[in-house]
């Protein structure tokens, strides 16, 4: 699983990173790096079996406050 994720991340980073760097937009570069890093770390955590809290449960709690 980890290898599959790694391969897809590498392909997209290679395809995206140089054009983004050439655009000379620091905000874009930072934002891209941060979001990609979060996605990458999350993929590693999932493939290692780390229990990540589901946003569905969080949404459910908020909805229950208003509906129940």
């Amino acid at each position: 699983m980890l290898i599959l994720f790694l391969a897809s991340y590498i392909i997209f980073i290679f395809a995206d990173f140089i054009p983004i760097k050439n655009k000379r937009q620091p905000t874009l570069l930072w934002l891209y790096s941060i979001t990609m890093s979060i996605a990458f770390l999350m993929s590693i955590a999932i493939s290692l079996g780390v229990n990540i809290p589901s946003p569905a449960l969080f949404i459910e709690r908020i909805v229950r406050v208003f509906v129940d």
């Binding site: 699983m1 897809s8 905000t27 934002l31 979001t35 990609m36 909805v63």
Partner: protein, 364 residues
């Protein structure tokens, strides 16, 4: 950045695929039992005013998407806050559809394949679609929409010999309450999910066509949904159809014409895959555009990969099983979706109308 332009016909095809994408496979109106057809019609009628609101927003501000409109109307800070809120909906919706997709493929055809492989393959395809731009997606939808519609209608025609009209009787046996609650569910999923189109409607070549696009899509999408849902009830019966996760797939699997034409459920799987890809791509478009607009970045395409991968990851951790998915979709999702599908567009439209009257030059 080069402005992307999509014709009215292409946008209608995209929205039709979006509307009946996952709903046609997951089934709609099961809670209304034999009155599912009535619930779908009521839901379509309920959707008319809200579709009018979405179209009106795009007509008042023809060169802007919902993110721009919100910022124009509410100012920079409050606007960005609302935009973040709205893009979170597009993001979660995309993750939900990826999950529906992977559950469907895993259950019906690849039980041994891990969910993440299916999600990754679909997700990467959608990321590439968003990188290619809305024009490519719209052309893709224009090519596949007739195929999907013909295959859905073909399955229905082939099911006629095994239909039993008594499965739809008696009408309104349980009263109007289950019909109304079911039509509310159908309104939030799939009709009013079209709110994400407010983020790409500014790509329409003739912006005054927005109303026509929304209503034609509602009529075509609603009709296909009505036909497939009624077919499922007629073929499988109320109790059996309501107890299945993928009733369309099951109703197609029982078709057998003279022991010659059978196993045509692959057409249903094809429908889901083709239409589902468009649905995920549109949600990814909306989320990427939202991120770009919030952080004042002109091009949204570089965000397709990170946001797409995040969507895949979130889809994997959303639920433990398909039982929870269905339970959440019925009990939580409709209430979660209302602020994004009704409250925000209505408030934005009223604020936009007031602003355009007070400041006549505020229109883009």
């Amino acid at each position: 950045m080069v402005k992307e332009v999509v014709s009215g016909r292409q946008m209608i095809n995209t929205m039709v695929l979006f509307i009946f994408g996952s709903a046609v496979v997951l089934g709609s109106g099961n809670q209304a039992k034999e009155d599912a057809w009535l619930a779908i019609i009521i839901a379509a009628l309920l959707s008319c005013p809200i579709f009018f609101i979405y179209a009106k927003l795009n007509i008042i501000y023809p060169d802007q998407d919902i993110y721009d409109i919100v910022e124009t109307v509410f100012g920079n800070k409050i606007g960005k806050l609302i935009n973040l809120f709205f893009l979170s909906y597009a993001f979660i919706l995309g993750a939900l559809v990826i999950r529906d997709f992977s559950e469907f493929i895993q259950i019906v055809s690849m039980p041994e394949t891990p969910k993440y492989v299916i999600s990754l393959v679909i997700g990467v395809f959608c990321i590439w679609m968003v990188r290619s731009g809305i024009e490519v997606s719209a052309r893709w939808a224009t090519f596949f929409c007739p195929i999907v519609m013909i295959s859905a209608l073909l399955v229905t025609i082939l099911s006629v010999p095994i239909m039993d009209i008594n499965n739809l009787r008696p009408t309104l046996y349980n009263g109007l309450k289950p019909v109304i609650s079911s039509s509310f569910l159908i309104f939030t999923f799939p009709f009013a999910e079209s709110v994400v189109f407010t983020t790409i409607m500014n790509s329409l070549r003739n912006r005054q066509e927005a109303l026509k696009v929304y209503f034609k899509s509602l009529i075509i999408g609603g009709f296909i949904l009505l036909v497939t849902s009624t077919r499922n009830m007629l073929v499988l019966g109320v109790e059996y159809s309501s107890s299945l996760y993928f009733p369309s797939y099951s109703s197609a699997s029982v078709i057998n014409i003279s022991d010659f034409l059978q196993r045509i459920e692959v057409l249903i799987a094809l429908n889901f895959i083709l239409a589902g890809i468009i649905k995920i791509s549109i949600c990814l478009f909306a989320a990427c555009k939202g991120i770009a607009k919030t952080f004042n970045i002109i091009d949204y395409k570089p965000f397709s990969a990170p946001i797409g991968f995040l969507m895949i990851n979130i889809s994997l951790v959303l639920y433990d099983s398909i039982m929870k998915l269905v339970d959440w979709s019925i009990k939580v999702y409709p209430y979660y979706a209302i602020p994004f599908q009704i409250v925000i567009p209505v408030i934005v439209l009223f604020a936009a109308l007031i602003k355009s009257k007070l400041v006549p030059n505020s229109k883009a």
